[in-house]
């Protein structure tokens, strides 16, 4: 066990898995000598060489397309998209190709590519360094979508992603890169995909969240506790395919659910969570499933703090659910 930041945990997972599995290669913009704009790949270029830590030209469609081709013939590519906001030029490769290879070839070809992308707000990045695009990928059949919220999970989930037989969109909450610190198990311990983490037990209301808003949920839960409300906080970790039992089990117990994420509300993942919860736990619900989310606007620069869901809005939603 060692204490480290989330970005160090990512870094460690990459290094350890590359050591373990010579098929792993990294590719992306500025990931080599520069070590990545967030330093996630620092030192790996020196350690594994320019052939396995590949600085690419500026073309995300090329990065993902190339990664797919590598994966088709036995490599295990991990592509870095510098910011999740710049993943859209690769959208066709992801939606039309990456997600569909196994299905369209009836399993003859598979593309176990991991796409890492710093996601979410909190660094005053404005429209294009702040977005949370998870819903696009969750809606795309054939992808795994993962977002850690702790260093230990970051390392363990990334290790699992690199070993998974299917593509994984691995979204890293950049606001937590250096602010989330914690104990991380030593080499080799993967955290399985598809399993949520109960962050905090409680019987009155369930808050379902992931990524950077996990700590918002914890803050709101701690405040609510002071007023006698026991909040259960679930960190999904794997967004899709999600841990349905953890969520439904909790809501059956508490009878109230708040879903919480940074991405815009409309057609966000919160909509799916709300839809699923009311489908599967209808008779247990004492209040509508509430959504606390980003606004349905482009991500703003000056008003970032206001845009991001916070403990205030989360507590309001909890209170509303309790008093419904």
């Amino acid at each position: 066990m060692a204490t480290m930041t989330l970005v160090q945990a990512i870094h460690d997972a990459l290094g350890e898995e590359m050591e373990r599995d010579p098929r792993i290669v990294l590719l992306g913009e500025d990931i080599g000598k520069n070590g990545g704009v967030f330093r996630a790949t620092e030192g790996l270029w020196e350690r594994f060489g320019a052939e396995r830590v590949i600085d690419t030209p500026l073309a995300e469609a090329g990065i993902v397309g190339m990664a797919i081709g590598m994966a088709l013939d036995g490599l295990r590519p991990v592509a870095e998209i510098q910011f999740a906001d710049f993943i859209y030029p690769a959208f066709d490769q992801i939606v039309s190709e990456l997600a569909k290879f196994r299905y369209r070839s009836a399993g003859q070809f598979t593309a176990p590519v991991v796409i890492r992308a710093p996601s979410g707000g909190g660094i005053k990045g404005g429209h294009y360094h702040s977005q949370s695009p998870e819903a696009y990928f969750i809606h795309t059949a054939g992808l795994n979508v993962v977002m850690p919220s702790t260093p230990a999970d970051a390392k363990g989930l990334l290790a699992s992603a690199m070993r998974d037989p299917d593509p994984v969109i691995f979204l890293e909450p950049k606001a937590l890169y250096r602010t989330a610190k914690g104990e991380v198990p030593d080499a080799g311990s993967a955290v399985p995909l598809g399993k949520a983490r109960i962050v905090r037990k409680g019987s009155d209301v369930t808050v379902v969240t992931y990524g950077a808003t996990v700590r918002v949920a914890e803050e709101a839960a701690a405040q609510a506790e002071g007023e006698g409300t026991a909040v259960e906080v679930i960190d999904l970790r794997t967004l899709w395919p999600m841990d349905i039992e953890a969520v439904i089990g909790s809501v059956e117990k508490t009878g109230r659910a708040v879903v919480l994420h940074e991405a815009p509300r409309t057609c966000g993942f919160g909509a799916e969570l709300a839809a699923l919860i009311q489908e599967k736990a209808f008779l247990h619900l004492k209040a509508p499933v509430a959504r606390v989310t980003g606004f349905d606007t482009p991500f703003p620069y000056a008003l970032e703090k206001l845009y991001l869901p916070d403990a205030r809005r989360t507590r309001n939603a909890i209170a509303a659910a309790l008093s419904f």
Binding site: A59, G62, G69, R102, Q108, P241
Partner: protein, 358 residues
Amino acid sequence: MELPLRVVLREDGSADPELDPGLDDEALRILFRKMALLRALDEKGLNLQRAGRIGFYIGATGQEAAEIGSGFALEEGDWVFPSYRDQGVALLQGYPLSELIGQLFGNSSDVTKGRQMPNHWCDRAARVVSVSSPVATQLPQAVGTAYAAKLRGEKIAVIGYFGDGGSSTGEFHAAMNFAGVFRTPNVFFCSNNRYAISLPVARQTAAASIAAKAAAYGIPGVRVDGNDVLAVFRVTRDALERARAGEGPTLIEALTYRIGSHSTSDDATRYRPAEEVEAWRGKDPIKRFAAHLKQRGLLDDPEEKAVFEEAREEVRRTVAVCEAAPPVPPESLVEDVYAEMPWHLEEQREWTRMPEKR
């Protein structure tokens, strides 16, 4: 400054000794038989579609020299990233005709479970990657596979096929540029059949040629007569050898013509003058090669007829077998999305079994 056009088969049926690849008689005969097979497949495919026995078909009539000439240059271990029109190349790679035709029917004779439209086949054993409709997406993938081979020190080449229209896509640009930078063992083979559906190539790009685009990526560009099977074979073989030898990628532009409509969904008479098509019919690549073989004494008229008859018969036989296969099972709808079936697809599998009304 125009790139020269590479030609082997001359007007009089002879071969330019300078560029003649020097194939032996058996190889020349195979080339001819495969071109005939491809033509026979097209005839059948179009008829099957017209008769409503398959849903769709895309032919390569008129482009057989480009298909067979380039495909024949491939060697054991090479990879193919095809477009929807490259069934000829796939067959040469060892993709079984029975699987290709099974795919057209999309029933249980289709090893890919009827998942895709006709002409969207693949074969892992033959290293022929799955066709997909979005134009040119295969090209950056071809670079990745080539990179993988290079990294492991394998001496193989990876060929990616696309059309004149495909050269306008962002994927073409990324692929060529990456291949140039990483010097991957790639060959990019453009079948410039003069049209992207209805758009003539002169309105696809203002460049002097597709091959001229290679300069933008620091790689060699080659223009070849795409109706000349020997010239196509020759330049493709050379490019593949360069690739395998670690000398980097090549862009080949094969100048040919799409005799038929774009696909069975298209009606080319809407946008193409009949005289233009007629003129190109006169340049039929199979007849052109036949003339050469005859001149070399490797073919005569009855034999020519027999080769076509045999090809048609093979296609007919295979169609009969494939067409008779049962449909794909309903539950297969939810398979192969992931390696293991997650809970939500287990749930959705029930939808395929739902009774008329509960």
